[in-house]
């Protein structure tokens, strides 16, 4: 850094009168010394360190062309002193004497600085002093130090040669520069000449650097120790005073209407720590499950979840990760927008929005359309660009299923649950307004905003309809691609909609996963049976029963379907098993996204490849079977579905009876073989 600066330096100033020298030196050295002390005192801040070093270096570099003036020489001396003082070692008499020597030298040097110089001499003599004191004080270190010095030597020499190339004015001979430690020692006694000037200054510099390094090391060590001690203390503090409340105590607590949040938070921390190192830290005689139960209860209380959901979410993660996840749900995810490529390019949009006072950046390498908004002085959902359909407000996670779907121009695509149209319009944009997109949504009210968005973004290839998704293959089939962003519990978007925390119960999950299973089969059946097609299943839930279980179910029910890689380069692999349920190895190909890992909404994406049906007739026979199975645990919905299915088929019941009986027997047989797993998954 300083090396270049050196070349730009103005010619050196004339030497100051001698008298001023000491005072000046002190003034110059003061900040450095201060910096160093500050450095040493406070926890080693790298920035400060660097600054101090820079100051020193530049000061050296500045003066080098014209020989060392006292100030430079003084600086390391003073700083060295400060350092010594810092170390709490007595400043030696020698030091003081050297000071006085210094001054006398300075005086002498003023007479004729050309011939002999000044401070370098002092410094070297001082250095020898230092070395003496060092060896006295830190005998153990000395050997090591020397090694370091040698290293430093080599390093500096390398630099020096470069230096010489740069500045011709300095006509030092290289031989003397190559001097090692010993020759230097010799030099220290010898008078300072123009010849050895450079070398001496170098030596000084090296000295200073080395000292600094030592200091830094020391500081680091100290800091480390302090940290450890603190850690231990904290640990002790948290765990020593911590006694896991017994069941009665907990009940009492619940009855009295809960305790202070601070206490609960402390308890969460303690429990987390203990669960991480259970064998070491746990109270003897208490089981892991007790701690877990307490932790879950506290999490539910602290973050405002109902007990059931807190437990279910807790089971998904390791203890630490779970805490991270719950924390992440308290903070909002970044606002992201998607450029509507039908209307404009991302660069132009970014420019236009920046001009309106929006601070934004591309969302990441994985998306060419996404922009992340950091702050905005205007409402981002009401700018003229927004109204003109140049972009869509859309969370980062909802890009993913469309990227996985990868629609191509001139295809026929179905979006089964599409409102408010973020994904639909993205599909349309990727297809460049060709082909055809069927955007379906089951809620009439939501189709309004859906078609508003479709029109605003200028998607002309979209047909909006309002059906229950389960009716779909009957309405129209033969799609090339189907996107099913299934209705879900929304456990991935708790930061957006905190009501999920309390209003979800066991029954909701059962009903939702039932609905999702029906929907995914309908989605699979809606594709063109003649051509190979893609179905993407996604939810904004992170519950395995809404994600992997549904996909696994579809894989079992539709043998011609198989999982393929989603084409998303990040995200965690789907579960292959979860709490005793086996989903199958291929579920690894699906992707999970978490708020605390990817800083986007919790999301799940699975990409299914629907091949040609092997046995068309048999495949269709599966349908009533499915409703039957779901009927077992699903409740009325399944029954209704079954009824409607039977009405529509309108076969001769008596003739069918035999087939139905046969199918039943077959099913029972199947259940016998791998009934256990299927039952579990279906749950």
């Amino acid at each position: 850094m300083g090396r270049r600066a050196k070349n730009k330096q103005p010619p050196p100033e004339p030497l100051k009168p001698v008298k001023n020298a000491p005072s000046k030196s002190s003034s110059e050295s003061a900040p450095q010394g201060k910096a160093r002390t500050a450095n040493a005192q406070t926890s080693a801040k790298p920035a400060a360190k660097r600054k101090a070093m820079e100051m020193e270096e530049t000061s050296f570099d500045v003066k080098r062309p014209m020989k060392k003036s006292k100030q430079d020489v003084k600086a390391p001396v003073a700083s060295g002193k400060a350092a010594k003082a810092q170390k709490g070692q007595p400043i030696k008499d020698e030091l003081e004497s050297s000071e006085s020597e210094d001054e006398s030298d300075v005086e002498g040097d003023s007479d004729g600085w050309e011939g002999v110089a000044d401070g370098a001499d002092l410094a070297t003599s001082k250095k020898s002093l230092f070395q003496g004191s060092d060896s006295e004080e830190e005998e153990g270190l000395s050997a090591l130090e020397e090694d370091e010095e040698m290293l430093g030597d080599d390093f500096i020499q390398g630099h020096k040669i470069q230096d010489l190339d740069l500045s011709d004015s300095e006509q030092d001979d290289e031989g003397s520069e190559e001097g090692s430690e010993e020759s230097e020692d010799e030099d220290s006694d010898a008078p300072v000449t123009a010849k050895n000037m450079e070398k001496r200054s170098k030596a000084l510099e090296r000295r200073a650097r080395q000292e600094e390094q030592e200091e830094v090391d020391e500081q680091e060590m100290l800091q480390k120790q302090a940290e450890e001690a603190e850690d231990a203390m904290e640990l002790d503090e948290e765990i020593d005073g911590f006694v896991l409340p017994s069941a009665e105590e907990r009940e009492q607590e619940a009855q009295s209407g809960g305790v202070d949040l601070a206490v609960v938070q402390k308890r969460i921390r303690a429990c987390t720590r203990i669960l991480n190192r259970f064998t070491k830290l746990a109270e003897p005689g208490r089981s892991r499950s007790e701690y877990v139960a307490q932790l879950i209860a506290d999490i539910a209380y602290n973050y405002g979840y109902n007990q059931f959901l807190a437990e279910r979410l807790f089971q998904l993660f390791t203890v630490n990760e779970a805490i991270e996840f719950f924390e992440a749900n308290e903070t909002p995810r970044p606002v992201t927008i998607r450029t509507n490529t039908l209307r404009c390019r991302r660069r132009d949009l970014a420019q236009a929005l920046i001009n309106r006072g929006v601070n934004l950046e591309p969302i990441g390498k994985w998306s060419k359309e996404g922009l992340q908004v950091f702050e905005s002085s205007v409402p981002i959902g009401a700018t003229p660009e927004y109204l003109a359909g140049h972009y869509m407000l859309q969370s980062a996670s909802s890009f993913l299923p469309v990227l996985a779907l990868d629609p191509k121009p001139n295809e026929r695509v179905l979006d089964m649950a599409s409102a408010p149209g973020g994904k639909t319009t993205y599909i349309s944009a990727l297809m460049q307004n060709t082909g055809l997109v069927f955007a379906n949504d089951a809620t009439k009210a939501r189709t309004k905003s859906l078609s508003a968005n479709v029109h605003r973004l200028g998607c002309k290839n979209v047909i909006v309809c309002n059906y229950d998704g389960r009716e779909f293959p009957k309405v129209i089939g033969g799609f090339d691609r189907v996107l099913l962003d299934a209705p879900c519990s929304g456990t991935g978007v708790i930061s957006k909609d905190p009501s999920v925390k309390i209003n979800k119960s066991e029954r909701d999950f059962v009903l939702l996963s039932h609905l999702q299973k029906q929907l995914i089969l309908c989605a699979i059946d809606s594709v063109d049976p003649k051509t190979a097609a893609i179905v993407v299943y996604s939810t904004c839930s992170i519950m395995p029963e809404e994600d992997e279980a549904v996909v696994a179910y579809a894989l079992r029910k539709r043998p011609h379907v198989k999982l393929v890689p989603t084409g998303l380069e990040f995200g965690k692999e789907g579960f292959t098993n979860f709490r005793g349920k086996q989903f199958g190895e291929s579920l690894k190909l699906t992707r999970r996204f978490y708020p605390h890992v990817h800083n986007m909404d919790g999301f799940y994406v699975a990409k299914l490849h629907v091949g040609k049906r092997v046995k068309t007739k048999e495949g269709e026979r599966n349908e009533p079977e499915l409703t039957g199975i779901i009927d077992d645990e699903g409740g009325q919905k399944g029954a209704k579905k079954k009824g409607s299915a039977q009405d529509e088929i309108k076969f001769d019941d008596e003739a069918d009876q035999a087939y139905i009986e046969a199918a039943k027997r077959k099913r029972l047989k199947q259940k016998g073989s791998h009934g256990a797993t299927s039952k579990k998954v279906a749950l």
Binding site: E385, V462, I463, N466, Y467
Partner: protein
């Protein structure tokens, strides 16, 4: 969903002709695909024939929209252009007007265009002519009807209205409930 009757077509085409004039033929004779107008629940949609055929399989109560909505028929049989038709109007517009950045927001809130906000205007625009309103960077913002001809606007004072507001893209937010 059904084709337009004679009267309906006449109402729609006269309205469109007010904005795009003879370019109307480009909407009907397209080089790429056959497009058609379809009436569905009072609304007129402009849609490729291929898409229309597929949309026929969606039952009438369940069909919400297809292709591009151009506007709706009022109960009295008049045709009203909607902002959703803006894409095509902007593409084929005969007369255009550009408004300055400080006039954008007032127009997007549903106000008429005053002369102070006028940036550019097509030469020889007659009075009471349908015009498409653009921002200075050529983003279509809506459409309206001129209050004065181009020549006459020169004499007006800055607060005088020069374009009567008909529709603007702000309606996507304001009238989402009634628009669709």
């Amino acid at each position: 969903m059904r084709p337009l009757t004679e009267d309906e077509s006449k109402a729609v085409f006269t309205k469109l002709a007010n904005y795009i004039g003879k370019n109307l033929v480009h909407l009907i004779d397209r080089p790429d695909e056959t497009y058609c107008f379809r009436l569905h629940r009072d609304r007129v949609y402009y849609v490729p024939e291929r898409a229309m055929r597929l949309a026929a399989s969606v039952a009438r109560p369940n069909l919400v929209s297809l292709g591009t909505c151009f506007g709706k028929f009022s109960k009295s049989g008049k045709f009203k252009l909607h902002i959703t038709a803006l894409d095509y109007l902007a593409q084929y517009a005969k007369y255009k007007i550009w408004i300055k950045p400080n006039g954008e927001m007032p127009f997007l809130y549903g106000n008429h265009v005053v002369k102070a906000h006028l940036g550019r205007i097509t030469e020889d625009t007659p009075e009471h002519q349908g015009v498409v309103v653009f921002s200075m960077n050529d983003t279509p913002l809506g459409f309206g009807v001129t209050a004065r001809s181009t020549v006459d606007t020169r004499k007006l004072d800055p607060t005088a209205i020069i374009v009567f507001h008909q529709a603007d893209v702000g309606e996507y937010l304001r009238d989402e409930e009634t628009l669709f």
